[in-house]
């Protein structure tokens, strides 16, 4: 009962917080003489990291006095909001297709992904969150499809971010030398074990922490951030997993200082702040002392034996969206549909 009350308390606090953010909070520096404002529109996950970067940016000559107006929400919703007029200078989304939507709308230059990081500003990997001590002994993708294992994953049909998980599940079979049929078969077994498909990554985290399921498909940075906030669970990095690459871009009519902001985010200090919140850096050779919440805080981002990427293993987002997530013919869509019919 005490646990229940804690959750309710947290929920009320969250909803109040949500109300405050909805109004578009100005996280600015009150002493700012310059009146330049950067509008950040992003998916929910990097909010904490962006706030930390903004503080650091304010301490630099370019960033002095710059104010920020931020809006965070589901990646696809945020992208559509910008497309239909939400003011933005800098966008930070979960998947590249949310940026290409803005390129198609003429709001972002089509050279946005020409830089050294190809438009990627933050990275993570797909991991398995498990109950403390990993009581079900879940270490590999094969363990996930054992009978009786209950999986929670956000819904790939309504959450763009959840698509990384489904791609990882499919791609690891191919990486192990399996055929496409075998990969689809694996997906069927995977979704047959899914007990909950919450609408977004955050909802899924809440459902898992509320007691649903044995294993929760999430991102390494989400797991680290939740553990930083005192949530008690472990996570497992499988031998083969998917590299999550979150794109960021400046809009064509952005305020001039936005470019300096993007450079700062991609620079050492920006990446360090992201790393402290659990994201893997996009630049090489970054020194990060200790990341609280990681499995091993002194070695927060262990090398993954076999890392799948969109570029090398799936081509591009526009191709894979069609192949895997098309509303009627997508491989993942069909696997989910089949899982419902089977029972």
């Amino acid at each position: 009962m005490r646990r229940a009350l804690t959750i309710i308390g947290a929920a009320v606090a969250l909803s109040l917080l949500g109300g405050a953010c909805g109004g578009g909070d100005v996280a600015g520096r009150a002493d700012g003489g310059g009146s330049e404002t950067i509008n950040i529109v992003g998916f929910a996950v990097p909010e904490a990291a962006n706030k930390a970067i903004a503080d650091e940016f304010g301490a630099t000559p370019e960033g002095e006095g710059v104010r920020f107006r931020t809006s965070y929400g589901a990646s696809g919703d945020q992208s559509r909001a910008v497309e239909s007029g939400l003011e933005a200078d800098y966008v930070h989304f979960s998947v590249a297709s949310d940026v290409t939507r803005l390129v198609d709308a003429g709001l972002v230059a089509d050279t946005w992904d020409d830089g050294p990081t190809k438009g990627i500003v933050s990275r993570s990997i797909v991991v398995f969150a498990v109950r403390e001590g990993n009581p079900k002994g879940i270490d590999s993708w094969d363990d996930l499809v054992r009978p009786g294992i209950e999986i929670v994953t956000p819904n790939p049909s309504s959450s763009g971010a959840a698509r990384w998980n489904a791609l990882a599940a499919w791609g690891q079979v191919i990486a192990d030398g399996g055929t496409e049929e075998e990969a689809s078969e694996y997906l069927d077994r995977f979704f047959a074990n899914v007990v909950s498909l919450p609408g977004s990554g955050r909802d899924a985290t809440t459902a898992f922490l509320g007691g649903t399921g044995d294993v929760f498909m999430t991102y390494e940075n989400e797991a680290i951030l939740a553990r930083q906030h005192g949530e008690e669970f472990d996570y497992v990095i499988p031998e083969t997993t998917m590299l999550i690459e979150n794109p960021g871009a400046i809009l064509l009519d952005a305020t001039p200082v936005a470019q300096a902001w993007l450079d700062f985010v991609l620079g050492e200090e920006g990446q360090r702040q992201l790393a402290l919140k659990g994201f893997r850096p996009v630049i090489d050779g970054l020194e990060v002392d200790e990341v609280e919440g990681a499995l091993d805080p002194s070695d927060p981002f262990p090398e993954v034996a076999n890392l799948l990427t969109v570029d090398e293993d799936f081509g591009s987002w526009s191709e894979l969206s069609k192949t895997f997530f098309d509303e009627t013919t997508g491989i993942v869509t069909k696997a989910i549909e089949k899982s419902g019919k089977a029972s």
Partner: protein, 283 residues
């Protein structure tokens, strides 16, 4: 309704005429009507027309394909079916709760009255969290309905509870007990009194509450997503399908599902109105 007469039918007809006995509008009522229409258009008519127009974009066949896709059709059946069931249940329990609140005295009555509105005040996602922590896998009562159909039902019950209670209660308060006494003194049994005198007076209020309750159920999303698990063919409701279509940039598809829900809701509202009128006339 300051007075309650036995002649309910007459009363309702007179109210329906709306106070303009001559049928012509005075200047003030003309302005009132204008404001009402403008308000209604901005907030309801235009957005709803936009939804229907978007649905029509793909043509009839696209509309039909979106709403008959097996997974979507299952979600529509679940949503409408459960919303109807919950509404029927609410009509019974809501009337009883209203009755108890109006006619009985007991300690804690004021508190109960306050608590009934809680589902209105709570943001739905918070309601979802509360339900998850109370009736999920860590349930302190040992009641675990997580990721089952009953979770959807429970969430609907929770968010629709106040509607019938709150519509019936004021009408019941205005109901003059002398009318019931008169019926009794004329030899009517308690059941007859209830059926021929009380129920017809309450029917419009019950119907209004039922309509609200149904409409809310059909559109519910936040309170159930955490507990229901959104499993296709099992616990997935239409709102989730609509979100899925939007995520795939299939706005016509999303609007099609929304349109069919609108049509179903409209039919239910009309039906409720017809039933209510019948009951009033029979009384």
């Amino acid at each position: 309704m300051a007075t309650a007469t036995l002649d309910r039918g007459h009363l309702v007809r007179r109210r329906a005429a709306g106070g303009t006995r001559t049928g012509r509008l005075t200047a003030t009522s003309g302005v009132g009507l204008g404001v009402a229409l403008l308000w209604f258009s901005l907030l309801v008519l235009i957005p709803l027309s936009a939804v229907v127009a978007t649905a029509a974009e793909g043509g009839w066949s696209a509309f039909w394909t979106s709403i008959t896709a097996p997974q979507t059709a299952a979600a529509i059946r679940l949503t409408v079916g459960f919303a109807a069931l919950v509404t029927v249940l609410n009509v019974v329990t809501g009337t009883i709760v209203a009755w108890v609140l109006v006619r009985d005295r007991f300690p804690g009555k004021r508190l109960l009255e306050l608590l009934i509105d809680l589902p209105f005040a709570l943001p739905t996602i918070v309601a979802g969290l509360v339900l998850l922590s109370l009736y999920g896998q860590d349930s302190p009562f040992g009641v675990d309905v997580a990721n089952q159909r009953s979770a959807v039902f429970l969430a609907y019950l929770f968010v629709t509870l106040p509607f019938v209670v709150r519509t019936v209660q004021p009408v019941l308060e205005e109901l003059d007990p002398e009318v019931e006494e008169a019926a009794a003194s004329l030899g009517a049994s308690r059941f007859t009194t209830f059926r021929r005198v009380i129920l017809p007076s309450l029917a419009p209020a019950i119907a209004a509450g039922a309509a609200l309750s149904f409409a809310r159920g059909v559109s519910e999303y936040g309170s159930l997503v955490l507990l229901s698990g959104n499993l296709p063919f099992r616990t997935e409701v239409t709102s989730v399908r609509i979100l899925g279509s939007i995520e795939n940039d299939n706005l016509p598809g999303a609007a099609s599902i929304a349109t069919i829900l609108l049509v179903i809701s409209l039919v239910v509202l009309v039906l409720l109105d017809v039933v209510q009128r019948r009951m009033v006339r029979r009384g």
